[in-house]
Symmetry: C2
Subunit: 251 residues, 2 copies
């Protein structure tokens, strides 16, 4: 890190309410990070956000081994809504799934939804680890909130309990969908305003009967991401970037 | 890996010319991988490509400790051109730069061009390692060629020797550019047909004077990727995906 970057106040997500004069308790990990990694001391500036009260400037008020806290001073940004975009993904191996959590946070998803498909090979999802990764990524990318990480559930169960009005962009690796840009550019105003989700299948693809059943749901729009075989995490990042660029808040 | 995936013939990039009846010598790494990782034996099928002669089906003809080779049988795909898209990126740390090489290959770049900027912090780029990563990624994503990995050079030198007609999409993290979709959707037919490059700055951004000088070049179109602060590798993947979706071969 350059000298200039070292002096940037660290950006921290907290649970506490944020208002001028408040004291925000920091987690043990945050205290350790400030003290032992960044070598900060009491009085040093920090930036705080909690997903509700915007972004605030403050100072380290306590940095002991048993307790760390910040004094909240002035608001630097008002709370603003992030696009309402979910990512549904079949559990994949640890490295790629960590990457998905980090990058999907940077790419502005509101929720990470692990879904078990028929061909899902990887057993469980450590949602606690994904939450920690999403939080760290949100701190770094200057988001004002942290994506919600759902517990893993079977895909059919998630789709059966689907919220009314939310659309689903299905990345269909069989190449049967229309090109993603054509689909997104052709959305009518109501569809552009709707909440969305992106669904990425497991490594090796969906079971064909399962894929057919997904496509029959009226909320689903299948798209293709070209003829190269993208890994699941690459397809996720590509589809999220295209959605943000064409429908979301990059427009 | 599921049983179905295990039986898929491995896909291998070779240097040798490929034609029916030819024998293609495999590298020591490929021999080791076939023998010790995939547990294949002589006679097992493989898929071969060399970036020139299309894709061929063949069989393992030799799989000894000192020599591995494949007998080339029948062509499965004719050689086809990939989009002529370069990625210029400032060297970043090992993990992220490896990710860039792997994902940019999946996202169909023709060349990876490491460029030294004024604020480039990371010293060197191990181009041999990036070549190996790009080759493995090309094998996995069913490309018919492998991206060329250039040696690192100063950005000004690369831009001074810029090939006539190639356009450059600058990811401007200061937010001064127009939204990427607006820029790409507004290209005239000549610009859509032109060869392109994407330029991603170093962690922490370009030096302001350097950024101004880049923007003055007529080949350059600055774009913005929204208001969240993307890491360099995330910006690279997002911009490549948007370009492929709107201008490249996902259309």
């Amino acid at each position: 890190m350059s000298e200039g970057q070292e002096r940037t106040p660290p950006r921290l997500f907290v649970d506490a309410p944020l208002g001028a004069g408040d004291e925000a308790v920091l987690s043990a990990e945050q205290g350790h990070y400030l003290r032992n990694v960044l070598r900060r001391v009491e009085g040093d500036p920090v930036i705080l956000f909690n997903g509700r009260d915007g972004e605030w400037r403050g100072r380290i008020a306590a940095l002991g081994k048993s307790r760390a806290a910040a004094a909240v001073e002035t608001q630097t940004r008002k709370q603003a809504a992030e696009p309402d975009l979910w990512l549904l993904f079949a559990p994949i191996k640890r490295g790629p799934v960590d990457l998905v959590a980090e990058k999907a946070t940077e790419l502005g998803v509101a929720a990470l939804v692990p879904v078990i498909t028929r061909r899902t090979v990887v057993g469980g999802v450590n949602t606690e680890r994904l939450r920690a990764i999403a939080m760290e990524s949100a701190e770094q990318c200057h988001r004002l909130n942290v994506p919600v990480v759902h517990e893993a559930r079977p895909l059919t169960q998630v789709l059966d309990a689907w919220p009314a009005g939310r659309r689903l962009l299905l990345c269909d690796e069989t190449g049967q969908g229309r090109p993603i840009t054509q689909v997104l550019a052709g959305l009518d105003p109501a569809a552009r305003e709707a909440p969305w989700a992106v669904l990425i299948g497991p490594e090796g693809g969906f079971d064909p009967a399962e894929l057919d059943a997904i496509k029959k749901r009226t909320i689903v729009t299948p798209v293709t991401l070209g003829r190269r075989l993208l890994r699941a995490e690459t397809a996720a990042m590509a589809a999220l970037a295209c959605w943000q660029a064409q429908v979301g808040d990059w427009t």
